[in-house]
């Protein structure tokens, strides 16, 4: 059979009347789509190489370039969709696993889109957040079972010792994205924004680069199966420590950073030899049970003198509620749950699209189970995976989460156009790459401002929604499922979400 040469997902259209041949597109495309022909003073574009990142389109000074979707030329077939046919063609060519980036893009039911929020009318007053104080402050960590006071010289004193807490100005943090999967400038943008806003960013499993030490007081550091970059300095600098067991995009799968990407800087940060493959095993080889996890949790608590909170990040899988219970009983101060739509820098597509459960159901299930067992106060729940807008955050908190992680949304604020080619390391926006030609395209000053603006915009929107419900503190919304109603959901779904159907009163 003839070899497949081209699969065009996008069409690059150039308006020749507008094109001034400045060659900005030629110089800027890392996929070599545009080629300049000096003899004929013309630029030709090879659409099959286009990843659909829209960088050239955004940069073109005369708006001469348009990236369009290539219409499906094969005979339409519901079962044999374009993507499946092309994946088979690619696999027949390479014999390999198809890799991808970002989160699951399949048309699974999104429960956030089928939940509506409540608002106050007549029987209780709504609150105007522009005129009255509105509290978004969130504390992550173990809360005491009860609070006792003593009286000293007629003054009430708190007798109960409050365990360490992570103080956040907004219940939104930046997800774990490692140095290696994203560029230093991208990490720096998020770190600056998080510190300025008073929330946390996360190093991911790739260690804490030296240049980001000034922002380490607002940083959650990860201890993952590869143990990259973990030393006492790393643990002591952090605001909190997170043991990464799983990731929503690839539950049960490890990671592999090829040796050629382990540059001097990455090798220093990860504490591994330069040029060697950075392998994250699928499991932690010292954690095969809850008891083993407990040992690591307490080892980390010992080493940081019980001053820092230790969390555990797990992917949302079928047995999530009992697993989360076990994790909390193992001593974790928070459990982060990453749903099926959680993003990644690189994962097998088949895993990303087929493994795991939606985070909405997982939060509800975990919150419910912890309440039933009477241990909900012993740990915070952080939800992650596919938070696209501020209403998703509000709904997640009403379902039982304490805070959420945003990853893709944060990267979109830095310029990401969701082309899903993170794994190639050729990100034109300078985000998911280590190429010095590309990383300098992300100016952390601009990036930090944009990420900060996103947090600010969402915080204003959350306050508006809370005000409408007549609530003036995010604490009062937590697990307040009466504020939610589902529509277009069946009884089983409503049961697992723990919410009523629209039309049903209190």
């Amino acid at each position: 059979m003839a070899k497949i040469k081209r699969i065009c997902e996008f069409l690059v259209e150039r308006d020749e009347d507008k094109c001034i041949k400045c060659q900005a597109c030629v110089r800027m495309c890392s996929n070599d789509v545009h080629k300049y022909d000096g003899e004929e003073n013309t630029i030709r574009s090879e659409s099959s190489k286009c990843a659909g990142c829209h960088f050239c389109e955004q940069l073109c000074p005369t708006a001469a370039i348009t990236i369009k979707k290539n219409m499906y030329a094969l005979r339409e077939n519901y079962n044999w969709q374009k993507e499946y046919v092309y994946d088979i063609l690619r696999q027949a060519e390479t014999g390999g696993v198809i890799l991808t980036g970002m989160g699951c893009d399949k048309k699974y039911k999104n429960y956030f889109d089928r939940i509506v929020l409540n608002a106050s009318q007549v029987t209780n007053p709504s609150i105007d957040p522009l005129r009255e104080p509105m509290e978004l402050k969130t504390f992550i960590g173990k809360k005491p079972n009860s609070i006792r006071f003593t009286t000293q010289n007629e003054e009430k004193m708190l007798k109960t010792e409050i365990p360490p807490q992570l103080e956040l100005e907004i219940p939104i943090m930046f997800s774990a994205m490692s140095f290696g999967s994203i560029s230093l400038n991208a990490m720096k943008s998020l770190a600056i924004a998080a510190k300025k806003f008073g929330t946390c960013w996360n190093t991911g499993e790739g260690g804490l680069p030296e240049q980001l030490y000034p922002y380490s007081d607002k940083c959650i550091v990860q201890v993952a199966s590869g143990r990259f970059g973990v030393d006492i300095n790393y643990l002591e600098k952090a605001a909190a420590i997170e043991i990464k067991i799983g990731q929503g995009a690839k539950p049960g799968i490890g990671g592999h950073l090829p040796g050629e990407k382990v540059s001097a800087e990455i090798s220093r940060t990860r504490i591994i030899p330069e040029g060697t493959d950075a392998l994250s095993p699928a499991p932690h080889h010292d954690i095969y049970s809850i008891e083993d996890l407990k040992q690591l949790v307490f080892a980390l608590k010992e080493v940081t003198l019980y001053k820092k909170i230790i969390g555990v990040k797990i992917a949302a899988v079928h047995n999530i509620a009992p697993i989360a219970t076990g994790v909390i009983r193992a001593g974790a101060d928070y459990v982060a749950i990453d749903g099926i739509r959680g993003g990644t820098g690189a994962a097998p597509k088949i895993i990303r699209d087929n493994v795991g459960i939606p985070v909405e159901i997982a939060i509800a299930a975990v919150d419910q189970r912890l309440r039933e067992e009477g241990i909900r106060n012993q740990a915070s729940i952080i939800a992650a995976g596919g938070f696209r807008k501020s209403s998703d955050v509000v709904k997640a908190i009403a379902l039982g989460a304490d805070a959420v992680y945003i990853g893709s949304a944060a990267l979109i604020s830095l310029g990401c156009h969701l082309c899903q080619k993170c794994y190639t390391g050729k990100c034109n926006w300078g985000i998911a790459t280590q190429d010095p030609y590309l990383t300098k395209r992300l100016n952390p000053e601009i990036g930090a401002e944009r990420a900060y603006n996103l947090l600010r915009a969402w915080s204003l929107e959350i306050k508006e929604m809370l005000g409408g419900m007549g609530i003036n503190a995010i604490e009062s919304l937590r697990s307040n499922r009466e504020q939610l109603r589902g529509f277009d959901l069946n009884e089983v779904e409503l049961k697992f979400l723990g919410i009523k159907h629209v039309g049903e009163a209190w």
């Binding site: 001034i20 110089r27 000074p61 030609y437 601009i446």
Partner: protein
């Protein structure tokens, strides 16, 4: 016209060369980007020069020196310092075309422009439009206008 210094930050220059495109457009007769490049009128020279060596790149224009060698070298007084902004500017009417300014410029940012019959061509800080277009159009803020304290100045 705002008073300030142009600061070049090579660490953020991605090498798109859009500063050149916008400089050329700004100094063309029509100030229309497509006409400047494709119209009948001769395209002006860019006042900003792009340099690159592998991934290190930056664009440089006249530094508008405090004590400018080009002003000292000018025979006729065509090269002068604008009293308000401190910009080093060139008066075509007075210029005799000796090109001594081109010779003495330590950065090589004054060019001979024979085609357009402007005898010396250089950055004028976009004094007529009020704000340097290279600063305004740099997609990554690799060229910024800063005040004496180093704070960024935006278009008012």
């Amino acid at each position: 016209m705002v008073k300030g210094k142009l600061l070049i930050r090579e660490e953020y220059c991605m090498g798109c060369r859009l500063c050149e495109v916008h400089c050329i457009t700004q100094h063309s007769g029509t100030k229309d980007i497509v006409k400047a490049y494709k119209g009948k009128e001769q395209k002006p020279l860019s006042g900003i020069y792009f340099e690159e060596d592998r991934h290190v790149s930056f664009a440089i224009q006249c530094r508008h020196c405090e004590e400018a060698p080009c002003i000292e070298a000018c025979l006729t007084g065509a090269m002068y310092k604008d009293k308000i902004t401190g910009a080093v500017l060139h008066n075509n009417e007075k210029c005799a075309g000796c090109w001594m300014c081109v010779m003495v410029c330590p950065l090589g940012v004054i060019k001979v422009d024979i085609q357009n019959r402007k005898i010396a061509s250089k950055c004028d800080l976009c004094i007529t439009s009020g704000f340097p277009v290279c600063v305004e159009n740099c997609p990554n803020e690799a060229i910024v206008l800063v005040d004496a304290k180093g704070e960024k100045i935006g278009r008012k």
